[in-house]
């Protein structure tokens, strides 16, 4: 394989990895952020204690997180098949990644929200803020730096999942590494793909740290 072929292969598959990671992270937050907020406010020390609901959500999240990613990915294949007509390829895998990671995201969000100073919440309550106002005007803005750090962890973890998904026909750098390195014994291609994955993780983590520090006014 000449340089151009390898270059184009890497470019396409890096793009697909980024596509999967970006959209799966967004999707995981669309589900995980409300769930995490709900989880933290319904806690017995939260602003809306609802122990039965809290226990049920906790149980559900623990189950989702306990099932290994590859098994979960196989189990949920009917979902992308139903939604976009196929269980293969990077678009389908994006949906699988959302399902596999939103529970993890919910836990990250829950932790960030729980770190918000109780006194500030009390102050907002004393001013007559409603539960909803406390969520979007106090909890989320006050937790933002921590939420951004959490998002960096989530995105890099999802990138790792997307690489694993390569074995299930998911495209991306993981798929390249497995196909060329494992099935075709082309170790050099595999190492390039792995190096690119490492670089992506580092960029993601660095960007997360940088933004979190930049926006934190404490």
């Amino acid at each position: 394989m000449n340089f151009n072929v390898i270059f184009n292969l890497m470019l396409t598959e890096t793009g697909r990895s980024l596509f999967m990671t970006a959209f799966a992270t967004i999707g995981a937050y669309l589900l995980g952020l409300p769930l995490g907020v709900l989880l933290s406010i319904t806690d017995k020390d939260g602003i809306k204690p609802l122990s039965a609901l809290n226990w049920l959500m906790g149980l559900f999240i623990n189950i989702m997180r306990a099932v290994p990613f590859l098994i979960l990915a196989v189990v949920v294949i009917p979902i992308p098949r139903f939604l976009i007509g196929t269980g293969l390829g990077y678009q389908a895998m994006t949906i699988t990644l959302v399902i596999a990671s939103f529970a993890f995201v919910a836990r990250l969000v829950e932790n960030s929200i729980k770190d918000v100073d109780k006194g500030v919440i009390e102050a907002a309550q004393s001013m007559g803020a409603s539960t909803f106002q406390i969520i979007y005007k106090v909890l989320i803005p006050e937790a933002m730096p921590s939420l951004v750090l959490g998002a960096a962890i989530a995105a890099t973890t999802i990138l790792g999942f997307s690489a694993m998904a390569g074995i299930l026909g998911g495209d991306g750098l993981g798929f390249v590494a497995i196909t060329y390195g494992y099935f075709r014994w082309q170790r050099d291609i595999m190492w390039i793909a792995v190096a690119l994955l490492i670089i992506l993780v580092m960029i993601g983590q660095f960007a997360g740290n940088f933004i979190a520090r930049k926006i934190d006014k404490r």
Partner: protein
């Protein structure tokens, strides 16, 4: 007597709060009743663990009492909830020991916060917030973040924020306890100034007698979840009846008792005679020699309040004469002994 006819702005009736903990039940407040009139600066003082924080949180229904009621401005706070409670809370603001400012918002936007949640348009809110920052004297810090401010400045922002919704009552929960004495004094004089300008009722929760002295008109002494004593600050300072109040008014009583010997009397100054040098006049007029054992005077709302322990001469006739002289001047005299 006129005051007692007024309907109180805050009426607390038979309030009890029992916390369920792993170690069993803890009674924070027990059958607590208190009326606070419009325009008062009402102090609630007690040692830590006396139930002060629970009380202030029951007043604005942050904490649901186990039984009893809180009537605020004619409304039973225990009977309302949700939107109605939230609306009512806007006329009862609170400031805290730890200031509790939003750390990710700048000063101006912290003061705008309560207006924002009550649906005031942004431009109106901003104008009002700037006026309030001017009032508390930190308009120049409007664009700063709380982390860049000192404790006293943070509390000024918190006061401005608390005043944003034009509340009828300002609750202060140990608002100066995290501040040094100089800053405490400046925050207290700011509160006094605000009281004079806006006529707002202020409830001050504290463990420091100095705070009560400087600013309050009335005080309730809290001990083990109930009121040991309440009344005007003057009254409590000059004639503390309960053990809890005595401990606060005379913190060095134990030390003082060492000086109390034979023929000692306690003279109480209640502010009515501070311009006349009564004591010197007594010595001159009665021609007695007395020994001052202990004296503690305080300036409260411009009046000299305090007490003094003096030893009278051995001669009983002379001693009687001195006591009669003081009583004639309207100064309370009592025998001082070790059983105090």
């Amino acid at each position: 007597m006129e005051q007692q006819k007024k309907t109180p702005i805050i009426g607390i009736k038979n309030l009890s709060k029992i916390f369920q903990t792993k170690g069993g039940e803890v009674t924070a407040l027990e059958d607590f009743s208190l009326d606070i009139n419009d325009g008062d600066i009402y102090g609630v003082i007690g040692m830590s663990g006396a139930g002060k924080s629970t009380l202030v949180r029951c007043i604005n229904a942050l904490e649901k009492p186990t039984s009893g009621s809180v009537i605020f401005n004619g409304k039973d706070l225990m009977a309302i909830s949700g939107d109605e409670l939230n609306k009512t809370r806007r006329s009862m603001s609170m400031i805290f020991q730890q200031f509790n400012l939003l750390s990710q918002r700048n000063v101006l936007s912290n003061v705008c916060f309560p207006l924002e949640i009550s649906g005031v348009p942004k431009r109106v809110a901003k104008k009002k917030a700037l006026e309030l920052l001017e009032l508390v004297g930190i308009k120049d810090k409007a664009k700063n973040y709380p982390s860049q401010l000192s404790g006293g400045q943070k509390q000024r922002v918190a006061i401005a924020r608390a005043l944003a919704t034009d509340p009828k009552v300002l609750l202060c929960d140990e608002a100066t306890s995290a501040l040094d004495p100089t800053t405490t004094a400046s925050i207290l004089s700011l509160l006094k100034d605000i009281h004079a300008r806006l006529g707002i009722t202020i409830v001050i929760i504290t463990h420091e007698m100095g705070v009560i002295e400087k600013i309050c008109s009335h005080v309730a002494v809290l001990e083990d979840g109930h009121i040991a004593e309440s009344g005007s600050v003057e009254q409590i300072f000059t004639h503390p009846k309960s053990a809890a109040a005595r401990k606060l008014v005379y913190p060095d009583e134990g030390m003082r008792n060492r000086y109390v010997g034979e023929r000692c009397i306690r003279i109480v100054f209640d502010g009515s005679s501070s311009y006349e040098p009564v004591f010197s006049n007594m010595i001159l007029d009665c021609n007695v020699i007395v020994n001052i054992m202990f004296a503690d005077m305080k300036d409260i709302e411009g009046k000299a309040l305090g007490h003094m322990i003096v030893q009278l001469p051995k001669d009983e006739l002379q001693a009687e004469k001195a006591i009669a002289y003081l009583r004639a001047k309207g100064i309370p005299v009592e025998e001082a002994n070790n059983e105090l």
